[in-house]
Symmetry: C2
């Protein structure tokens, strides 16, 4: 792996575990084993590193979604893969929260130019989930359903970080699975009545 990518993935980890603003050039350099001065050769500004990290995360997310698509036979099974990242990544989530949600929030507070780029990570998940719901015959409310699921996974992440309660995660994951089952068997509702009844 070339140095530029090494820096990007080190920054990726540090931004997640410590936060964007609090992570310094020196931290990343030390993590990669580079001298502080040489850093400038690869990245001119901190914003540039952030862009690289977001691009890396987008690529990794795409890869993960593609893998779920390949591994699973049915759309429902794919959505279940999404729900289960809460279990798979529970340790890191309890320590640092969701990488996407926490980055978006920090950039929003900083009013950083890249805040919309970071939000695109959410869109990636959202559109993928919506496609699965469409395949399940929920064309009318696929967007609402996918946003609802995304919302629940974010809420679980935040509370899991605050309380560090693994049984809470498992209980809510179970609830998400049951919710999904209920919405698979159900017929797609008529347009305009998407919201309160169905979600």
């Amino acid at each position: 792996m070339d140095t530029r990518n090494q820096i990007a993935s080190a920054a990726d980890r540090l931004f997640y575990e410590r936060g964007y603003d609090v992570t310094s050039f020196a931290d990343i350099a030390e993590c990669v084993g580079l001298s502080r001065g040489n850093f400038y050769y690869h990245f001119k500004t901190k914003d540039e590193i952030l862009s690289a990290v977001i691009a890396l995360r987008i690529a990794n997310t795409r890869r993960m979604l593609d893998a779920w698509e390949a591994e699973s036979e049915t759309p429902a099974e794919r959505i279940r893969s999404f729900i289960n990242i809460l279990i798979v990544n529970r340790t890191k989530i309890m320590a640092y929260g969701c990488p996407v949600g926490s980055l978006c929030n920090e950039l929003a507070k900083l009013d950083h130019v890249a805040k919309t780029d970071a939000a695109a990570l959410f869109t990636l998940f959202q559109e993928w989930l919506a496609r699965q719901f469409c395949a399940l015959g929920r064309e009318t409310d696929a967007d609402a359903l996918s946003l609802h699921l995304l919302m629940r996974s974010q809420g679980v992440s935040t509370l899991a970080t605050a309380f560090r309660d693994e049984t809470f995660i498992r209980r809510e994951v179970d609830a998400m699975h049951t919710w999904l089952e209920a919405h698979i068997s159900e017929r797609s509702p008529p347009a305009q009545s998407v919201s309160s009844q169905t979600v």
Copy 2:
């Protein structure tokens, strides 16, 4: 208002709008109209300011919960007040997220000593909600139901910040109200089967 409280409430606002770590002594001092040097007289360390902010937030939250308790006749109406903060504070939430959730996440990443103190803010809401659910006859799963509601409000906050979509907030708030209605009329489930079916 004495200077100490002025400082605490200025820090409260800045910690919410910009983040804890990124806010400096100088920022707070300027906000209150104090000289940077004089600051040390009121607060010796930054941790001390954070403690004061958390204490202030706990007091304010208690006051708000008491007000909801006084204003509303029924427990269901009180829970509806909680759900509706998402609407009432939607502008700030779309800009900065939830004050409690974002602080807890930042302190978790910093591995700050006060991270459990900040999480106590969540507990305040959780116990209050659980008491309302108990009053509704849901003694068996009051904790799970209150955590579920808290989780949803956190998820909505996070996505609202990322997408800045007000209709999303309103749709999910409607869904939370419908969820509440369904769980008021329902009979309390037998113990041990709390999770997936009821939530």
